[in-house]
């Protein structure tokens, strides 16, 4: 995929004065970009940092010293000594003009528009507009609330024709579904017959759309955005680790949106990741602990289930040795949790049959990775690898079938089932003495669990994920776990306590991270608090410390 604005990294720095303030900018970079990067707001619609320059909305006009006419800041390259005035009367009048003209045909249906509250048209209208409408002529009519693709709704009347969406499908998704039809004031955005907006990144057009013309179908009429509590996090969908914001309302996730990180996902995320949060609040989510007795699975309190799990682990280990225990985890836990789990396996249980089950799906050459878990790399770096002479997943399965492994502890049995296949997974379950499942979502194995521990989702946790290139990124809790559910790391802490006979050490992600930094070579020098919003590549830190 193309980098729209090209790389200006090699160009020299120049000094530009904006409203009397001197800033340093890259020679040739768009003046608007330089201003925004330095916290100087110049209103704009068609400009987007990750799309080519369009220059059509004319909102970003500024006065450049020595030029007669106003210039658009988005198409003005930074040059040494450029002196810019963004506040002159002429600039204000030009902005007022763009605002009034954008609104002459606008439906003004803010009360029912999902964009309200994060709408450029509203915001700039308030700041740069005229606060009263003087047109009485009928406004242009257009399509309302029509699907323009399976995941995006379109409201033609609200469109301001900034063409960000068109450029997105030309330059980023490279699928070219959207274009401008018609000319003049009959122009409209549309698709060709039989070619709806349907690509793996389609919902990003709703993010780039500065108004409420393109909207995520999933979020459509769901919640006023000002009621959302937004939490910075990372997408759990694959190992790319796209940076996101989780928008929640009363303990319920309403949407995920991408958060800019030029090193990872720029400003984008895939549709599958964006829409993949449903399991968090799903009706069939595993919320209860169960333990099997003669009559079958019984709902019990979580601590009773943990006690039962500890007892089973102890018994098998005592009766058959550590080699009779196998642990298979998904790639969805945090580094801190894996670190505790690895410690529990290695030191307390001394089992060496530990591995991951990460399902593979489709990947591409942009964001989407084939391995569908956010933290497989972190898991391995935390020690979730078969110990010396230990068994990997294939070995564990064989050992179960051979009757050598009698207790299997699966964390994330849905992924396990996906990797192993339902039939074999069920056969494996049938061979076991004890099957401990620690799950968020039900799987074909759920019925077969001897002990079921409810797990927590990434949206409920603090901690870190390490993406496929080794970038360590923080996640933060956006919602609470259901009543009575512990974080997976807390379960590991409780089990470690129970099995070692010592008082359980509370699970505090930030201190676990410090332990990781001290213990795991690649993480040396990282401090939890200093992992900013954008995360850190350990390699960069090492070089920096170097």
């Amino acid at each position: 995929m193309t980098e729209a604005n090209g790389s200006t990294a090699k160009n020299p720095k120049v000094r530009v004065v904006i409203d009397g303030r001197e800033i340093e900018a890259t020679a040739g970079a768009p003046l608007l970009e330089a201003a925004l990067d330095n916290g100087i707001e110049i209103p704009h619609y068609c400009y987007h940092p990750k799309l080519s320059i369009d220059g059509s909305c004319r909102m970003c006009q500024v006065q450049i010293q020595g030029q007669k006419k106003l210039a658009i800041a988005c198409n003005t390259p930074c040059t040494e000594g450029l002196v810019v005035d963004t506040r002159s009367d002429e600039v204000a009048d030009a902005r007022r003009g763009v605002m009034e003209l954008l609104l002459v045909n606008h439906p003004l249906d803010c009360p029912i528009c999902d964009q309200a509250g994060e709408c450029y048209l509203q915001d700039y209208s308030f700041e740069h507009g005229s606060h009263h409408a003087r047109t009485t002529a009928p406004r242009r009519k257009g399509l309302k609330r029509v699907p323009i693709g399976p995941r995006v709704v379109f409201d033609q009347e609200r469109c301001i024709l900034c063409r960000r969406c068109v450029r997105f499908t030309n330059e980023i998704s490279e699928t070219n579904e959207l274009r401008v039809f018609g000319i003049g004031d009959t122009s409209y955005i549309g698709t060709l017959e039989g070619r709806p907006l349907d690509n793996p990144y389609s919902v990003n057009v709703a993010d780039v759309c500065p108004v409420g013309a393109l909207l995520s179908s999933d979020f459509h009429h769901k919640r006023r955005v000002w009621f959302l509590e937004e939490t910075e996090s990372v997408c759990p969908g694959c190992s790319n680790g796209c940076n996101i914001k989780i928008g929640a309302f009363r303990e319920e996730i309403q949407r995920l949106v991408p958060r800019r990180n030029d090193a990872v996902n720029e400003t984008w995320m895939c549709d599958a990741g964006r829409l993949g949060y449903g399991f968090v609040g799903a009706a069939d989510r595993i919320r209860e602990a169960r333990v099997c007795d003669d009559q079958g699975q019984q709902v019990v309190a979580l601590d009773a289930a943990i006690t039962a799990a500890a007892a089973a682990l102890r018994r098998v280990r005592e009766e058959h040795g550590a080699g009779a225990i196998g642990i298979v985890a998904s790639g969805h836990l945090t580094n801190e949790e894996y670190f505790r789990l690895a410690g529990l396996a290695r030191e307390t249980l001394t089992t060496v049959s530990v591995d991951l089950a990460v399902p593979l799906g489709e990947g591409d050459d942009f964001l989407i990775r084939a391995d569908k878990a956010a933290n497989a790399r972190g898991a391995r770096e935390m020690g979730l690898v078969p110990g010396e002479a230990g068994r990997d997943l294939a070995g564990i399965l064989n050992a179960v079938e051979a009757g050598e492994i009698r207790l299997l502890w699966i964390i994330g049995s849905k992924d396990f089932e996906a990797v192993v296949g339902t039939e074999r997974a069920l056969a494996i379950a049938g061979r076991l003495e004890t099957l401990i499942l620690q799950d968020v979502q039900p799987s074909g194995l759920s019925d077969k669990a001897t002990i079921q521990l409810p797990g927590a989702t990434w949206a409920e946790k603090a901690g870190t994920f390490t993406n496929y290139v080794g970038r360590v990124q923080r996640i933060r809790p956006a919602v609470h776990s259901p009543e009575g559910v512990l974080l997976d790391g807390e379960i590991f802490a409780a089990l470690t306590g129970a099995l070692s006979g010592r008082a359980a050490v509370p699970f505090v992600p930030s201190s676990v991270f410090d332990e990781i930094a001290a213990a795991v070579g690649a993480y040396a020098g990282l401090a939890h608090q200093s992992l900013g919003g954008a995360g850190t590549n350990p390699a960069d830190v090492t070089e920096g410390v170097g």
Binding site: C57, L70, I72, L101, I183, G184, D185, T186
Partner: protein
């Protein structure tokens, strides 16, 4: 100055003649200038001669032609192109058509000389879609010139290769704007490009490109044949040579007249175009196509048709297309008709133009119908101000000038329509 049959003609054959055939054109000295230039004049000297002639663009903006050519990169990189603007869509304008239909080789010869002067590989003539006759004449002329070795490889044995292609437009005014033309020629929707980059650096297919009007290019052979001084001897100091004035509207003999720049507008109306219909008086005159600010009768009677004089009275020469409106015409209607033109021809990229052209049209219809008020006149002024000088191309400015200047110069007539009074003119005025 007065009407003289002997006024010099640089562009058009005598009224009774058509020089579409190559033989006829050569009988009148055709391609001699090209041959001299290519065989024996250094490219730089050709450009110098054009510079000395003071030739200014005839497409509307009056930009100095040699100066435009000088913006091409000096690195000798190829290919580079000429885009020749034959879209001629400015309402009231029908001058390039005269050249293409009656003297097409003149244009080809101009392109050839300009091409040689600037080391150009090929010229593309973008012809207005409705100009079928002009298109056919150009096609034939190109084929004939090719057959005669005047185009193609190794022209005049000089080693210079040059091709001319013709492309028909599909009827959009905006494809006459130079970068809209290039988009259209490249096969996309005709929408002007933001600048920078300018065409001389990145034009057709992102290559250096000269863009000139048909008439501009057609002046080049005469300048080379007769010398810059002969060209300068006609016209005024800052507006040299002749141009083809197209005059239409309420005159007796509308038509195209090749005359020196600087000819008094009064002379063109009353002598060349035969004056008004009996009993009528002039109310307003648009001097350079509808994009240029309208003049009052008083201004029109005093002005000469050259760049400086028109600028001095608050208008512009534009394409030299004169539209005369007599006392029977409703100027609010005239303004509304013009506003509608811009509304349907705006490409729709820029906010001010897309929304402003539509709003201006609606406001003018409202005023014309009698439903308007003082606030609507104020809105017209504001919208025109918002639209002017703030967009990608000049269409928005043109639309703003048209409505804005009709209102400013004829406010009384607008006010007479307000508060339910409606149009005081009868149905002989414009259809809207």
């Amino acid at each position: 100055m007065s009407v003289t049959a002997s006024a010099p003609r640089f562009l058009l054959p005598p009224d009774s003649e058509i020089w579409t055939s190559l033989e006829v054109y050569r009988e009148h000295g055709g391609y001699a200038a090209a041959e001299t230039a290519i065989r024996s004049i250094a490219p730089a000297a050709i450009a110098d001669e054009v510079k000395a002639s003071g030739l200014r663009g005839r497409g509307g903006a009056g930009f100095a032609t040699a100066m435009k050519w000088s913006f091409l990169p000096k690195d000798g990189s190829r290919p580079r192109y000429i885009a020749c603007n034959a879209d001629e869509s400015e309402p009231g304008t029908f001058k390039d058509r005269q050249i293409m239909e009656r003297n097409p080789h003149r244009l080809l010869e101009g392109l050839l000389i300009a091409g040689f002067a600037s080391a150009i590989d090929a010229a593309y003539i973008y012809v207005r879609g409705e100009y079928r006759t002009a298109y056919d004449a150009l096609r034939r002329a190109i084929a004939d010139a090719h057959a005669a070795g005047l185009l193609g490889k190794n022209i005049f044995g000089s080693g210079f290769d040059f091709e001319i292609h013709v492309h028909r437009g599909a009827g959009a005014y905006i494809c006459g704007e130079e970068t809209g033309l290039m988009e259209s020629l490249e096969g996309r929707k005709g929408q002007p490009r933001k600048r920078p980059p300018f065409p001389a650096i990145s034009g057709l297919w992102k290559r250096p490109t000269i863009i000139n009007n048909v008439e501009t290019m057609s002046h080049v052979p005469g300048i080379i044949a007769n010398g810059a001084a002969a060209f300068r001897a006609v016209g005024t100091e800052k507006s040299s040579g002749t141009t083809i004035f197209g005059i239409s509207g309420n005159v007796q003999r509308p038509g195209a007249y090749e005359l020196p720049l600087g000819t008094p507008l009064r002379e063109i109306i009353f002598e060349h175009a035969g004056g008004l219909l009996p009993g009528r008086t002039i109310k307003a005159v648009i001097p350079g196509g509808v994009s240029m600010p309208v003049l009052t009768a008083e201004q029109a009677m005093a002005v000469t048709m050259d760049h400086d004089a028109l600028q001095a009275v608050g208008s512009l020469l534009g394409t030299g297309a004169i539209i005369v409106l007599d006392d029977q015409q409703c100027l609010v209607r005239a303004a509304a008709v013009i506003a509608k033109f811009y509304r349907v021809e705006s490409c729709g990229q820029c906010t001010q133009c897309r929304e402003g052209t539509g709003w201006l049209h609606k406001l003018l219809l409202k005023v014309e119908s009698g439903a308007g008020s003082g606030a609507d006149l104020e809105a017209i002024e504001d919208v025109a101000r918002f639209m002017e000088g703030h967009t990608i191309c000049g269409l928005s400015d043109a639309a703003a000038w048209a409505s804005g200047w009709f209102l400013r110069r004829f406010r009384g007539e607008f006010e007479a329509h307000l508060e339910g009074r409606g149009c005081p003119h009868d149905a002989t005025s414009f259809e809207i």
